[in-house]
Amino acid sequence: MIEIENLTMSFPIATGQLDVLRGVELELRDGETAAIVGPSGSGKTTLLLLLAGLEQPHSGRIRIDGVALDALDADGLADLRRDRLGIVFQSFHLVPSLTALGNVALPLEIAGAADAEARAGAMLERVGLGERGKHLPMQLSGGEQQRVAIARALVHSPPVLLADEPTGNLDLETGARIIELLFGLHAESGSTLILVTHDEAIAGRCQRVLRLHEGRLIEDAEAHALPA
């Protein structure tokens, strides 16, 4: 369960301050999929960063499974990301010094899992990169790098998956395959998915579509049926 209460966020600018989020309210149940859409600069990525505990809101509160993020220190937030979150970035953000297998195994190793390598290998197989485990990120194409990033985000079976424009750096065809993979793996894992996108078609595949407009989160009237 994700709960957002009266969340506000602003940034200082030359003429004063820019209010990016103004009293955002949201409640997502376990297993739901939600798309956050909106024009560039509307605060989509900011909202995602706040959800990941990577930025602190000016006011308001975020709870994940009942845990208030503002009550956690830096180590507590790191532990929260380790145990409950998986994140997929637009620019992949793989660690260049680690192989594909090493990157996928990272969340498990951070958690001290005994079978990290085996589980990472299996996850790589699931995203179709079983043969590329020993390759470094620079030796992979953009699409392959994003598949590694998705495997990394899901390898430790997090209850919540955050994805920020996962197809933004990919061509149409590769992007489409990545979205199939993402939704397919999500369906298997049953985690809550929050997806930031510009693409209405991708947003349309989510159960809920939330639009950021002038700092407020407005939900589309036509919501998809909730999972049984």
Binding site: A74, D75, H93, V95, P96, G102, A105, A116, E117
Partner: protein, 842 residues
């Protein structure tokens, strides 16, 4: 071209101070090259221009006795002659101070070249003449300052009390080692005779200086042909020039090698600095190419920038180097009578400038080539510059530059052997380094397995950073490792020397060392010492100077190794071989082959322990028979053992120890050691001087103080050179770290985002730097020991392997501090908000 120059300059100005590491690395290296080269030229030009003056003639005939009349007539018929009679002895002052000096008595023709300047400015003959019932003397100014004596004071030389009538302001042929071996005191021939110091067996040198118009080589050949059976040695000023040039060349080559090493290490800083600079310029490059600037012109822009920066940095380096060389030249000129000239500076500085430019281009070319090979389309789409490879043509140009540098290094080093050795060592070092880096990376990759370090993420990340592509391992080993190698080598040599000096102090070392005791003075000297300290322990041993005449009953001239080399033959024939008895083994000699004989077993011929260096030089081994000659007698001896001198603790340097009785008819002089309370050595010296003024007595404390002073000066010089080298290395390291910093901050941010705690990330960085420090230290210890231990063992005859821990300690301390500072700097940068970075594209 003007457009490109203008564009290059404007672009460079807009880059601010981002290339300061480039400039600093190059300036430091060039400064050392310029300083070493300029100092060599300054001192070399000064010394070699004045060799005739420094030697006192075109030729010098050295003899242990006055030359006979026919030889003097022969010489006078072929040039102008001046005789300088020399003798080492003790000088005493009214205050009771004693110091070893070199008495010099010269005839009216002295000096044949240059001018002797005295204070007051009076003729030497007048100063040294017998007047008012006393002989006069002119003493070296440095000696006067050391003993606190002035004009008008009384000094004691042998049996004479003499007046100091003048100080020597400038003596053209003052010995370069006078301060160490004995400063000069000039006196008349009559005074020398009256001193009672010239007796049978006295070590008097008769140096006949000759000024001639005849070619010196011809003169010498004619002289040897005219007097074939004599052992007089003729040296020419060219010989001396050659010897000085060789010695100077070796010292300069050593300094230049360190300078070139520093410059090449600095080259790594140039490479890193330019690479970071161009990485930031990829956008500009893409824009210029998109606007239609052709590759060749674009390359010209950045090559011009390198030229501007390298030119400026090298000029600054030359300026600093010239100032250092002038300061060094002034310091040398204070010790040695040479005149330095600024005309010696342009050549070495031009060379240093050329080295600076070539080094900058050679190290910058791969980075420029790689930056220019990045396709503009990729740049606009994403930061894909890392994918580019340096094109082959740029690598070929780099190899060409490197080849040219090595060729110039060979031409620039005065000692060609040093040059080839340096190039060979560099090639070997690079090969070794490559093998070490490959091995370490393979080892790190092997260890970097989840199952090996389960739950130790920090260690695994640190290991991963050692074997990943672009690891700073190679650059760290090459830059910091080279400087640490120098530090380890210096630490081992200096620590070993200091330990040896300190070991000489304890009660086991004699307080006084005695030379030139006549046989009939032995009792008186013992009694005199007893008056100063009744408990003093005096050990004496005979010292007989001989010449080697035959090996295995064959004259030296027929000996295989000497028959073909006339100079080696003449050296062997003229060399003194100092022989003694084993007695109480006064000089602590150690046998390296054979065994000491049983003293109770008489034997014919006499048994001999021969010195290892002479044995090697002459090809003598245990079982050979040697014949020595002295005073018309011959001594036959069989080599039954080979001994080795005790390095710094050697006092008398005996070439041979004979079984008792073999030297008996030839013993006139003795040497001795006195073990006594250190506080009364001065009283003992005074008592000895009263009964035996010819006996030279040297307190060990004085020798040690001089040794410490010389070692201190050498250590200070080495410390300066090592510090500059370390400075350049740290700059390189800083550039390596700066290049890797954004990568490390990025990695840390991603890890933190994935849930790794900052404490874990910091620990992984600390471990990475600790591993680097440890590896670099061990690398430096191995190389430093490989340089220092053979030097200590073969050259200084000192042990050093038990001091390896000290070398390791120095290496670990310096590397830990250097890398620790780098890690601390990085930690402070790690506070960056992950969100801020993750907003930006990769």
């Amino acid at each position: 071209m003007r457009f490109l120059l203008d564009l290059a300059w404007r672009d460079l100005r807009a880059s601010g101070r981002s290339l300061w590491v480039f400039c600093a690395c190059l300036a430091l290296g060039v400064a050392l090259v310029s300083a070493s080269g300029s100092l060599y030229r300054l001192v070399g030009a000064g010394l070699l221009a004045d060799t005739r003056e420094l030697m006192g003639g075109d030729l010098e005939v050295d003899s242990k006795a006055p030359l006979p009349a026919d030889a003097l007539d022969w010489i006078r018929a072929r040039g102008k002659l001046s005789l300088v009679t020399e003798l080492y002895t003790m000088l005493g002052t009214a205050a009771g101070n004693f110091l070893r000096v070199e008495l010099q008595s010269m005839d009216a023709n002295y000096p044949l070249y240059g001018t002797l300047r005295l204070e007051p400015d009076r003729p030497l003959a007048e100063v040294t003449a017998f007047a008012d019932g006393r002989w006069g003397a002119a003493v070296d100014r440095a000696l006067a300052a050391r003993l606190g004596i002035e004009r008008g004071d009384t000094i004691v030389i042998g049996a004479l009390q003499m007046d100091v009538r003048a100080l020597i302001v400038e003596q053209p042929d003052r010995n370069l080692t006078a301060d160490w071996r004995g400063p000069p005191v000039l006196l008349a021939a009559g005074a020398l005779e009256a001193s009672g110091l010239i007796q049978p067996g006295s070590r008097v040198d008769y140096d006949y200086h000759v000024a001639t118009e005849i070619l010196t080589a011809r003169w010498r050949a004619d002289f040897y042909a005219r007097f074939p059976d004599q052992t007089w040695e003729v040296r020419t000023f060219e010989d001396r020039s050659q010897r000085i040039a060789e010695r100077l060349g070796q010292i300069a080559s050593g300094l230049l090698i360190i300078a070139f090493s520093t410059l090449f290490i600095g080259g790594l800083g140039v490479f890193n600095s330019i690479q970071s600079y161009l990485q930031r310029k990829l956008g500009t490059l893409a824009t210029l190419r998109a606007l239609g600037l052709r590759n060749r012109r674009l390359a010209a822009v950045y090559l011009l920038q390198i030229g501007m920066l390298a030119g400026g940095a090298s000029l600054a380096g030359c300026l600093v180097g010239s100032i250092l060389a002038l300061l060094g030249g002034a310091a040398v000129a204070a010790e040695v009578p040479i005149e330095t000239t600024l005309l010696a500076l342009p050549g070495p500085n031009l060379a240093a400038l050329l080295f600076g430019l070539l080094t900058a281009y050679t190290f910058a070319l791969p980075a420029i080539g790689r930056a220019l090979s990045v396709a503009p389309a990729i740049l606009f789409r994403d930061g894909g510059g890392e994918l580019a490879q340096t094109p082959r043509s740029w690598w070929l140009a780099t190899l060409g530059g490197a080849g040219l540098i090595l060729l110039l290094v060979l031409l620039a080093l005065p000692d060609r052997l040093f040059g080839f050795a340096f190039v060979g060592v560099i090639a070997l070092l690079l090969l070794l380094l490559d093998l070490v880096v490959r091995g370490l990376r393979r080892g790190a990759r092997f260890l970097d397995q989840p199952r090996r370090f389960r739950g130790r993420l920090a260690l695994r990340l640190a290991l991963a950073n050692l074997h990943r592509p672009g690891t700073p391992l190679r650059a760290s080993l090459l830059s910091l490792g080279s400087a640490l190698t120098l530090i380890v080598a210096c630490t081992l040599v200096v620590a070993s020397l200091l330990r040896e000096i300190n070991l000489t102090i304890p009660a086991r070392a004699p307080a006084l060392i005695l030379y030139d005791i006549n046989s009939d003075q032995l009792g008186a000297v013992r009694d005199a010492i007893a008056t100063a300290d009744g408990d003093a322990e005096v050990q004496t041993a005979p010292l007989v100077r001989t010449r080697l005449s035959a090996i295995n009953d064959r004259p030296l001239a027929e000996h295989a190794s000497l028959a073909v080399d006339l100079d080696a033959y003449r050296d062997a024939v003229n060399d003194d071989f100092k022989l003694s008895y084993r007695g109480g083994n006064i000089d602590n000699l150690a046998l390296v082959e054979g065994a000491w004989w049983d003293v109770d077993t008489p034997g014919e011929p006499a048994r001999l322990a021969f010195e290892d260096r002479e044995a090697r030089r002459l090809g003598v081994a245990v079982g050979d028979r040697l014949t020595f000659a002295a005073e018309g007698r011959e001594i036959d001896a069989e080599v039954v053992a080979i001994h080795r001198q005790k390095g710094l603790q050697t006092r008398f340097w005996f070439e041979g120890i004979l079984s008792d009785g073999a030297l008996e008819p030839l013993i006139h002089r003795h040497v001795g050691t006195v073990f006594m309370d250190g506080d009364v050595t001065f009283d003992a010296q005074r008592a000895i001087a009263e009964v035996a003024p010819n006996v030279v007595s040297i307190p060990t404390a004085t020798l040690l103080a001089t040794a410490r002073r010389l070692l201190g000066q050498a250590s200070a010089g080495l410390a300066v050179v090592a510090a500059v080298s370390l400075g350049a290395s740290l700059l390189v390291l800083a550039s390596v770290m700066a290049a890797g910093r954004s990568r490390q901050v990025y990695d840390a941010t991603v890890l933190n985002t994935l849930g790794a705690r900052m404490s874990t990330i910091r620990r992984s960085l600390q471990l990475e730097y600790l591993l680097l420090a440890l590896i670099t230290s061990l690398f430096a210890l191995a190389l430093g020991a490989a340089i220092a231990l053979p030097l200590l063992h073969w050259r200084l005859k000192l042990p050093g392997d038990d001091l390896l821990w000290l070398g390791l300690l120095a290496a670990v301390a310096v590397s830990t501090v250097s890398l620790g500072l780098g890690a601390r700097y990085l930690m402070r940068r790690l506070h960056t908000q992950p969100a801020a970075l993750l907003r930006a594209p990769n």
